[in-house]
Amino acid sequence: MTYLAKPRLHHPELPKNKLGYTHRDYEGAVSTLCAGCGHDSISGAIIQAFFELELPPHRVAKLSGIGCSSKTPTYFLGNSHGFNSVHGRMPSVLTGANLANRDLIYLGVSGDGDSASIGLGQFAHALRRGVNMVYIVENNGVYGLTKGQFSATADRGSKSKRGAVNNDQPIDLVLLALQLGASFVARSFSGDKAQLVPLVKAAVLHRGAAFIDVISPCVAFNNHAGSTKSYDFVREHNQAVNRLDFMPTHSRFGAQAAQGARRLQPGRSYRGNKLPAAARRCGRDRHRTVVRTARCHGFACGTQHRRHSAQRIARSRARSRRRRAGEVQRVVALSAQVLDAVTCNSSSPRTRGPRGV
């Protein structure tokens, strides 16, 4: 498949954001992925998030590794510089880019093979350095581009399209990201745009390493019965922990949590306010527990390590609305203010990036 340009005809009535950009201005070339591929929905969510955030596309640098997922930066933010690097090594390229210029927004897109298999080392080190970026893994449990071999996130006992059973333990990138000190960690589902778009927005406004693991079914190689990453399986086993605009407020993790603990059942995941009391000790631990408990049984989506108060979010949005085009630097600063205000659930704020130029 070669490059397909999108017709540049703009409908005069298309709604514009405050910068005067339409949704179209955030799109890229026509996708060459399989029809129905989860990755395309994630591209859609990214387009929507940036449109709504009213960020000038050219101030974003999008970087990826190799794989179907890593191809997607061609399909969104056509006016951004993009970099399709080598397999498993987007994080180092992104880190380097970050060292050269701190004023851009860095969006890293990767796959489960790219980040959990060949690139696990670079994934880990970028997070532990707290590189200022949004890091999205489009997680389908297989190597899509090389035709369906298991990746390191494939669940134990899940079956490949040809019927082979995966006997190895999966790597849970969310748990790993927490362990490594990422300051924003979330899991979502490509089929749940209502949840994914606000998550991406929050991640973009977060200063520090923001990681989102998005379950993203591969229709060509991992959408059959016996797969734990098929649309059917995910839909059946996923219950969003929360419906959020940006985040749940702190108070939602309230007094009822202890009683909620009793309701944990296999095959279901749970809302954040139904957690065992022990899990409430501290934010990061709590989150880990949500994920760990849920992972035994299914998915915990929309869970989030970093929480922002609703008022603060509203304030920062109001401020961001006042932003002029091109002033991306201030967006970063704004999110940093939000971040500083909500460090309650981790031992130290991870605002530190690599030393910049």
């Binding site: 498949m1 070669t2 490059y3 000038p56 596309p57 050219h58 101030r59 640098a61 970087l63 190799i66 930066p73 061609t74 056509g78 006016n79 951004s80 510089h81 993009g82 970099f83 399709n84 690097s85 080598v86 090594r89 994080p91 180092s92 390229v93 992104l94 880190t95 380097g96 880019a97 970050n98 060292l99 050269a100 210029n101 004023d103 851009l104 080392g121 670079q122 880990a124 080190h125 085009a325 091109g326 690599p354 030393r355 910049g356 130029v357």
Partner: protein, 621 residues
């Protein structure tokens, strides 16, 4: 002669300001700084020295040597052979003894009597009970060890007539502000002198005499000079992973930057130095930073180059500037990690999979390391491709006497072809891989430049002139041909080879490069004095200038002198310039020690004899 001290059967070597001293020590015993003190004292007396620290891959316990060539004529390479051995390591005694020239000197610790079999009757043994003296003077074990080094430096200063005031002055500089250390060191030095004056025959036949042969030259390690070159060259990002012998370059860069690149007002760092998790990441960071408009480099050695291969191919194909310093060491694998070689030529010239070819530059000493380091960033930006600065341990980690580093303040950085916001705004056509000037080099843009023009997608897959993905064969070929054109263009920017005509017309030539050069200078002078003439060419860059093939075709036979087993430079010449292999005679030195003048002299001498070359004029020895 018996095991103690005495004069040899052969008449003792007599030489002023022209001899080789070698210290044999145990690693971790604190000898390195005392030995360097010895070398610097001679330098302060106006006599050029060329020190070589020959150290093991070990922190404590293994043998280590420090060779000091004292040479008023200023030859900076190794001569070969040892005139005075300071044998402080019983483990290596036998092999150290063998190295001494007939008529040479052996200085040793005579605390324990040694059998006569441990000596040579053509070597003058000078025993001094160092351990006994230290045991008597000091109670602390570490002090006994450390001061022993200073005591022998003191004794040697008497034997070789090195000025004690000069040594004291250097100790004073070293321990400035640390009176507690300064005094005992000076005392130890004098203790050594007193013993030598009262108990040994002094001075020796070899000795130092104050002169003025150093001039304004400076004493500097190649890694430090190269790192300074990076600062002058405008590098702001260094990503690296520790590996001998390159680590000290990254450390020097951070040190220089701390001094020169810290914003005085805000005290903020205006640079980034990242110790990456491995070489895969360090080169990735360099590529990311360069793509985004910074001048970035990594420094590594052979094993690191191997890990970087895939990324190097990406940088070549996607045309991203990247500067890589390869401080070469003994290879393959972990090889001899603390020894020197020039054995990464092929793995760098053709690094990565597929059809690739890269720019290499070969500095000969720290001064050129400084200059080439700064130049490498211009080259990388101008050519939008990886550039390898081919150093080696000998240049990088040894201190060399060099002309002062110089920088023309009018010089500006060549950032190559970059389209600005104004260019794009004015409607200039932008195609990331569009060869508008016919030199194979296209314009690039930095991310974030313009809201609607000039963005493009960087990829390792095939693309058309506008950076769009394609799998079209003709487009691929078009692109690969342009990359060749670009390398052709590169030649005009690369340092030219240095040619030297022999004193008389000759059919023979010699090609050499890098750290072999200072040794070659001496070899040629020696050959010339024997009436043997060789035209020479010092390579300074790859791809080769046209002058290189001219040089080869002008001579019947050409020696290619290099420090590796497989004659890698010769292979490059044959392959790239389509040369009859029989024309190029390899001269190879690869035991991990720096090549010596005697070695080249012998090799070339023997080979010329096979061609029935008779010296043009005999010169009295």
């Amino acid at each position: 002669m018996q095991g103690g001290s005495g004069m040899s059967k052969v008449s003792p070597i007599r030489a002023v300001n022209d001899f080789v001293v070698k210290f044999a020590n145990v690693n971790g015993s604190g000898s390195a700084s005392a030995n360097l003190l010895f070398a610097k004292a001679i330098l302060r007396m106006g006599v050029p020295v060329a020190p070589r620290n020959i150290f093991p891959s070990n922190i404590q316990g293994l043998p280590t040597w420090f060779e000091v060539r004292v040479n008023e004529a200023g030859w900076r390479g190794r001569r070969g052979g040892v005139d005075l051995m300071v044998a402080m390591n019983p483990q290596t005694w036998d092999e150290d003894l063998k190295e001494i020239e007939p008529g040479g000197y052996l200085f040793y610790d005579s605390t324990k009597a040694l059998p006569a079999s441990k000596f040579r009757d053509d070597v003058n043994a000078i025993g001094m009970p160092l351990t006994a003296i230290c045991n008597r003077e000091y109670s602390d074990a570490r002090q006994r060890q450390l001061f022993k080094n200073i005591i022998y430096v003191g004794a040697l200063s008497t034997l070789l007539e090195i000025e004690p005031e000069t040594i004291a002055e250097l100790i004073g500089e070293q321990y400035k502000g640390k009176e507690a250390l300064l005094k005992p060191n000076v005392q130890a030095m004098h203790m050594g002198r007193a013993y030598a004056e009262n108990n040994l025959d002094w001075p020796l036949g070899v000795r130092v005499r104050r002169t003025n042969a150093v001039g304004d030259r400076i004493f500097i390690e190649g890694n430090s000079a190269a790192a300074l070159g990076c600062v002058y060259g405008g590098a702001t990002v260094c990503a690296w992973y520790p590996i001998t012998p390159s680590s000290s370059m990254a450390e020097a860069f951070a040190r220089h930057c701390k001094r020169f690149r810290t914003d005085p007002a805000s005290s903020k760092a205006r640079y980034a130095s990242v110790q990456a998790e491995d070489e895969l990441a360090s080169i990735g960071m360099v590529i990311g930073a360069s793509w985004n408009g910074a001048r970035a480099f990594t420094c590594t050695s052979g094993p690191g180059i191997s890990l970087m291969q895939e990324f190097i191919g990406l940088a070549y194909f996607a045309e991203i500037p990247a500067v890589i310093f390869d401080v070469q060491r003994g290879s393959p694998s972990t090889g001899m990690p603390t020894r020197t070689q020039q054995a990464d030529l092929l793995s760098c010239a053709y690094a990565s999979h597929g059809d690739t070819k890269h720019v290499l530059i070969f500095p000969q000493d720290p001064k050129e390391a400084f200059e080439f380091a700064a130049l490498s960033f211009d080259l990388a930006d101008r050519l939008q491709t990886p550039v390898f600065v081919m150093m080696d341990l000998d240049i990088g980690m040894q201190e060399w006497l060099c002309d002062p580093l110089a920088w023309d303040s009018r010089r500006h950085h060549d950032r190559g072809k970059v389209m600005s916001f104004q260019d794009l705004e004015s409607g200039k056509e932008f195609g990331r891989y569009l060869d508008v000037d016919g030199d194979g080099i296209a314009y690039r843009t930095y991310p974030g430049t313009h809201p609607s023009r000039g963005s493009y997608f960087t990829r390792g897959t095939t693309k058309d002139r506008y950076a769009h993905y394609t799998e079209d064969g003709a487009t691929y070929v078009d692109n690969m041909q342009r990359l060749l054109r670009k390398l052709e263009t590169a030649k005009q920017y690369l340092p030219e080879p240095v040619r030297r005509k022999a004193g008389a017309p000759t059919r023979f030539g010699a090609i050499y490069f890098g750290s072999t050069a200072p040794v070659m200078d001496e070899t040629l002078a020696a050959l010339e004095s024997q009436g043997i003439h060789l035209d020479t060419l010092r390579l300074r860059a790859f791809p080769f200038h046209d002058a290189v093939s001219d040089f080869i075709s002008e001579h019947e036979q050409v020696f290619v002198v290099e420090q590796n087993r497989d004659a890698q430079m010769r292979s490059l010449l044959i392959n790239e310039l389509v040369i009859d292999p029989g024309k190029l005679i390899p001269v190879l030195h690869y035991d991990g020690t720096p090549i010596t003048a005697r070695f080249i002299l012998r090799e070339i001498g023997e080979k010329l004899a096979m061609f029935n070359v008779t010296p043009l004029r005999k010169v009295a020895p």
